[in-house]
């Protein structure tokens, strides 16, 4: 099957694949950044001694972690419009669904990261006169994030691959686009191999970038 590998097919498919890649990247970036920001807030709430905070954050996490991502997408696409009378549209639905869903996972990663910083480090921060929020900001979170980098990477890669779920609301991410062309042109070999190579390249680039970051900030 490989002797007939036709690069023209891929070149012709470039514009469609690129559009798909933009959706994939947009979704991944928004969900990672939004997920980390909301996840950090949730993690701080979850660790808070103020019980209502920790209860709310804990329920949020448990709730989203029991749901399949695809179901969360369905809610925002189908149910929220029914409740509010206003359609969100495919892209907004998935951006919100992915971000809220990822936030639950990032919350747990960040919580573990925060807990990996010892009580003595917190005491050392407090002892120089930093307030508790300052100690969090300057002492705990920087160390927590540094410890979390490898897990963040794994989570980002999973998310990157999960973006293909958006086909359920009619969006074309990179993989969906490749699949469409493959079926349309009857060129399964070219398209699926290309897709695999692209995923591999991006994940590899991500890993290398993280390694570089770790070297730069590792101690």
């Amino acid at each position: 099957m490989f002797e007939q590998f036709d690069f023209h097919v891929i070149i012709n498919a470039m514009p469609i694949l690129w559009d798909g890649m933009l959706i994939t990247l947009l979704l991944a970036v928004v969900a990672i950044v939004g997920g980390i920001v909301i996840g950090t807030v949730l993690a701080l709430m979850r660790l808070s001694r103020f019980t209502p905070f920790s209860l709310v954050a804990g329920s949020y996490v448990n709730f989203f972690r029991s749901m399949p991502l695809i179901l969360v997408i369905f809610w925002f696409y189908f149910l929220v419009p029914m409740a509010t009378g206003q359609a969100l549209g495919g892209l907004s639905s998935v951006l919100i669904a992915f971000t809220l869903f990822e936030a639950a996972y990032y919350c747990e990663i960040i919580r573990a990261g925060i807990q990996s910083v010892t009580r003595n480090q917190i005491n050392a921060g407090l002892a120089v006169g930093l307030s508790y929020p300052q100690t969090m900001r300057y002492i705990v979170l920087p160390q927590a994030f540094r410890n979390m980098v490898p897990v963040f990477l794994t989570q980002a890669i999973v998310l990157f691959q999960d973006t293909s779920l958006v086909y359920v609301v009619g969006l074309k991410d990179f993989l969906t686009a490749a699949d469409l062309v493959a079926v349309r042109d009857n060129r399964v070999v070219e398209l699926f191999i290309t897709a695999a190579v692209v995923y591999l390249a991006i994940c590899l680039a991500g890993s290398l970038w993280v390694k570089k970051l770790q070297r730069k900030y590792a101690l």
Partner: protein
């Protein structure tokens, strides 16, 4: 300057401090010793409010530590603390470690803070390590940086929690030398340590703790002359054998 008055503290059911009272005057150096688990660390952490206590009072310069109205960060910024395991901030350079409290708590300009940090590094003999990270330093060097970090806040008193017990023997003296110098300059100090040579040399008083109680609180000469309690005697004979 520091007055500890009938302090009782519990961790759940377990009473870790039992009716502890002592005081430290300005310029005084008090050594606290006693078996592991006797509550020494807990007691000095109560002094700067890192540990809450349920009964009794502690005042530092007239400010009541246990009072809910007390601004603890403000109070702590005047009391230096040095930990057994140094607790430098691993993600910051030596200079950043010493500068953090100066800029974020005292509000010094970064340039002013840096100048002060360099002065302190000179004092502890580490100017050439300023841009390194803690992990690149030996234990003795880290502890000297930790002392500089505490001094950078211009503290009115210093608390040391076994500052040399995590160090290799050959590094103990470089840290003790800095502490002796501080003591001789008149710094008010509470030092939890088993370095009896240090105690003899600079301590005004020695406090001996056992099972959460202050069993002995005496002038240094009296303590090393004839400790009154059997427990202190047997403790001393054990650690002086080394």
């Amino acid at each position: 300057m520091i007055a500890i008055h009938n302090v009782n503290k519990w961790f759940d059911e377990f009473q870790v401090l039992k009716d502890c009272s002592t005081k430290v005057d300005k310029g005084e150096v008090v050594v606290i010793c006693g078996p592991s688990g006797s509550g020494k660390s807990t007691l000095i952490k109560c002094v700067n409010g890192l540990e809450p206590f349920q009964e009794g009072t502690i005042t530092v310069n007239g400010v009541s530590v246990g009072d809910k109205q007390t601004n603890l960060p403000e109070l702590r910024s005047h009391i230096g603390m040095v930990f057994q395991n140094f607790e430098l901030f691993p993600h910051m350079t030596v200079l950043e470690n010493i500068g953090l409290g100066q800029t974020k708590v005292l509000g010094r300009e970064p340039s002013e803070a840096e100048a002060r940090s360099m002065k302190l590094l000179e004092r502890v003999g580490l100017t050439d390590q300023a841009s390194k990270h803690p992990a690149q330093l030996s234990g003795g060097q880290q502890q000297r940086v930790a002392i500089a970090r505490a001094l950078a806040m211009d503290p009115i008193a210093m608390l040391f929690d076994e500052p040399t017990s995590a160090l290799d023997p050959e590094m103990i003296n470089e840290v003790l030398d800095v502490m002796v110098e501080l003591a001789q300059e008149g710094m008010t100090m509470i030092v939890v340590t088993h370095e009896m040579g240090f105690a003899r040399k600079v301590a005004d008083r020695v406090v001996f703790m056992d099972e959460g109680q202050i069993v002995e609180d005496d002038t240094t000469d009296a303590f090393f002359g004839t400790p009154r309690s059997d427990r202190a005697q047997s403790f001393l004979s054990k650690i002086l054998q080394h």
